[in-house]
């Protein structure tokens, strides 16, 4: 990259099914914490990008009234109506343009205030699928899971195993709320049947919360303590779900290839120490292993069975519990970037994986991961 850009601060609220706080107060909490961590004040020069969604927040221009708590008054402020990982890319671009040295990135979710699965239905084709009320985020994911299982012989037990791993990992993360120490694939498979093969414990549950990070280049980055450098980024957009092969995550694969090329990653398994993969459903993590080049095409199940992605494996995935631990819609991918940075800084407490120097984080938007973002991060 033209300029070296680092993550120099982060903040997260606890993620809760129903927080006793407004989105404004949650954004204020993380914006204050992130800015204060690096001594920034509202009068300093920085740009602000938030990630939120008009439909989810029930208002046109959903960042209305987030300008004040995001410390963005009279600033070069904008929002993305996508996952927060896109907000991080937007902020990165503003820094790379040379226009700013510092960007404050914020994602927020208040899932407790809307009718849970209905906004998701509004993602589908309004002239056909949306009206027929058959496709929603869960049924679409189930169709993808079946296509994936059928193409490569992946089993329900392997998918359930991913959920069990992430539920158990979440039990070490004080910020996660969907946690189950010692969870087993049997437990996951015996949970409520939704759309086969998906059971309730395979779903990343919506919640309330906010997170923020500060990106910086130049002097701010140089003087920062424990900067986490952005080594590579990529993002890609795929077709509507009925118009593409569902058995692979093409947008994630394309995004990873771009990010790896930028970061000089040729062999991810040996060069990457940890990954935080935005999995809205357990099978997406297996598909993610393939798209991220952790294993070959169709080998996601076998790679999981090898134990490589467990906490003590050679490439731990979602040590935080991932989205299954807390799905902060519009902030989930941003939280993956933050968790990867926390691991590199060695600040992950009970969920810390020793010796993380290089980490990958992903974000996604749209049904069946239609759009994907990949970040490659590295320590000093």
């Amino acid at each position: 990259m033209e300029r070296e850009v680092a993550i120099i601060a982060y903040a997260q609220t606890p993620y809760e099914a129903d927080a006793n706080a407004s989105r404004e107060m949650q954004v204020l909490q993380v914006a204050k914490a992130a800015l204060e961590a690096v001594g920034l004040k509202q009068e300093d020069r920085y740009t602000v990008i938030t990630a939120n969604n008009d439909y989810l927040d029930g208002r046109t221009i959903s960042n209305m009234r987030l300008v004040e708590p995001a410390a963005a008054w009279h600033k070069n402020e904008s929002k993305v109506e996508m996952d927060g990982a896109y907000a991080a890319i937007y902020g990165l671009m503003r820094i790379l343009s040379g226009d700013h040295d510092v960007a404050l990135i914020i994602g927020e979710s208040q899932a407790s205030v809307y009718a849970r699965w209905i906004p998701g239905i509004m993602m589908f084709d309004p002239t056909f699928d949306r009206q027929r009320w058959l496709l929603n985020e869960v049924s679409a994911a189930a169709l993808q899971a079946r296509a994936y299982m059928n193409a490569f012989g992946v089993s329900e037990e392997q998918i359930a195993g991913v959920a069990a791993k992430n539920l158990d990992n979440a039990s070490r993360n004080p910020l996660a709320f969907n946690k189950l120490a010692g969870a087993s694939s049997e437990k996951v498979l015996s949970s409520r049947k939704l759309y086969e093969p998906i059971t309730e414990l395979m779903v990343a549950p919506y919640c309330d919360g906010a997170c923020a990070l500060v990106l910086a280049a130049g002097e701010m980055a140089k003087k920062a303590e424990k900067p986490v450098w952005i080594k590579g980024v990529g993002f890609a957009h795929d077709s509507y779900l009925t118009e593409r092969p569902l058995e692979e995550m093409t947008s994630l694969k394309m995004a990873a290839e771009k990010a790896y090329a930028m970061a000089g990653i040729k062999d991810p398994v040996s060069q990457v120490d940890l990954a935080e993969v935005h999995e809205n459903f357990a099978h997406e993590e297996l598909m993610g292993y393939e798209a991220l080049g952790f294993c070959g095409r169709g080998e996601g199940g076998a790679f999981f069975d090898s134990g490589a992605t467990k906490r003590d494996g050679k490439l731990p995935v979602n040590a935080s519990g991932g989205a299954i631990g807390a799905n902060v819609v519009c902030a989930t991918g941003l939280a993956r970037i933050i968790e990867a940075a926390i691991q590199i800084r060695g600040e992950a407490g009970e969920r810390q994986i020793p010796g993380v120097k290089t980490a990958v984080a992903t974000g996604q938007t749209g049904p069946c991961a239609q759009e994907s973002v990949v970040f490659v991060l590295g320590g000093e």
Binding site: V113, W117, T127, F128, N136, V138, A145, L194, E196, E243
Partner: protein, 153 residues
């Protein structure tokens, strides 16, 4: 969401938001729905690559070309994926149990390059299964004229 719908524990007052939208489905989907009234399944075809979209699409994503050609497709197709649905999204947005499970399939019609998501009659499905469209020109809501599928054999 409507007034009076339980959306969980909201600390204080909750304000119902009822935006009403009216879309035109557009010329392409109008032509598709008009076809179903006559029992015809019409897909759009890209003049450059020849790919056929069902439901029809106005622009080919591969060629950046306007799809002005039409083809009439057979009623038959193949199941590309399926799910046994035990739930549906209820009016309050939560997943509520169905009285009886039902199957949702992704079907690629013979001669089409994209899929249709719809219900399959019966309780059995498999990937690769041959199915036949069930067309109901009298459907109460016109979007359901392509009512679903049944096993072809």
């Amino acid at each position: 969401m409507g007034a009076g719908i339980d959306i969980g524990p909201v600390p204080r007052s909750s304000i119902p938001i009822n935006p009403a939208f009216q879309w035109s489905v557009g010329n392409w989907m109008d032509y598709f729905y008009d076809g179903l009234k006559e029992g015809k399944i019409r897909g759009s075809k890209c003049p450059e690559c020849g790919k056929v979209s069902l439901p029809p699409r106005m622009v080919c994503q591969h060629c950046f070309a306007k799809c002005e050609d039409w083809v009439e497709l057979p009623e038959t197709g193949t199941v590309e994926s399926f799910t046994m649905a035990h739930v549906k999204v209820g009016a309050n947005g939560e997943l509520e149990d169905l009285p009886q499970p039902e199957i949702i399939v992704m079907v690629k019609h013979d001669g089409a390059d994209t899929c249709v998501a719809a219900r399959l009659e019966g309780q059995n499905a498999s990937v690769g299964m041959k199915v036949k469209a069930v067309i109901d020109p009298e459907a109460e809501n016109f979007v359901n004229m392509l009512a679903g599928y049944r096993p072809a054999e």
